[in-house]
Subunit: 152 residues, 2 copies
């Protein structure tokens, strides 16, 4: 339990375990980041373009197409998308659900940043990175503030 008896100072060591838990959470979040970005993008492409093609995804993400192909295979393995050789990509129910959640998060985070005076461009940029790391509690706080600043 208490590991700092033999070497090193007593060190207070207030919350090593909690800190570790936080870092672990971030690492886990990072594992789903790519998936969230893909399904969100795929949903958007299906909406606006009628279908999601690997080449488009690669263009929008700024990566090479083989990267997309490999990632899509992973997403399919994980039950988020369906795809057959040389055909466009579809979302499964789980994929659509994840896309919806991501979309909502993204909109709230970006909207919030704009509401507190961040420029549109920066808001979009930062939202892309931040959206994967905000808890529901924080998201709710963001919504509250958006609403409060709205009616003016």
């Amino acid at each position: 339990m208490n590991a700092q008896k033999t070497r090193g100072q007593p060190v207070s060591l207030p919350d090593a375990e909690r800190q570790a838990a936080n870092f672990r959470r971030v690492r886990e979040a990072h594992q789903t980041e790519v998936a969230e970005d893909y399904v969100e993008l795929i949903a958007g492409l299906i909406d606006t373009a009628g279908e999601a093609r690997a080449a488009d995804i690669a263009r929008r993400l700024g990566v090479a197409h083989p990267t997309v192909v490999k990632t899509i295979a992973r997403l399919q393995r994980d039950g988020l998308v369906e795809s057959q050789p040389y055909r466009s990509i579809f979302l499964t129910g789980a994929g659509r659900a994840m896309a919806e959640r991501s979309r909502r998060r993204h909109a709230i985070v970006a909207g919030f940043l704009k509401a507190i005076g961040v420029s549109d461009e920066t808001a979009e940029r930062d939202a892309e990175g931040v959206e994967h790391h905000v808890s529901d509690e924080t998201l709710a706080a963001f919504e509250r503030i958006i609403k409060a600043n709205m009616p003016e």
Copy 2:
């Protein structure tokens, strides 16, 4: 230049390039995340415990020690830390500078979240993930709001 002439719908395609740039930025940010976490943690350990040992870092991060050893080697290669076999770890000038920046970011993000009504625990948790993705502009907006909510 315009790649959507032959196949696929015209698609409006408003800002594929900008979107790609945003994603690229997030990927780059992610490459420095681990480094930031390490130097920030090392700085903290040196301050509170007098020295930074690999075992402590592993405990605080919630990873196995070999992971820490390997990462420290990378950080040393990149000029952020100094370490010799079986001795504790030191920050270089660059490492200290990065640690300072990270610490400041972390404090601002966490403080901001608390200021808008997020619980302390959640604020700390979310700050850990969010801090790596907020631009200076957003950070400034956060500070403004902290200050505005302070004097009450």
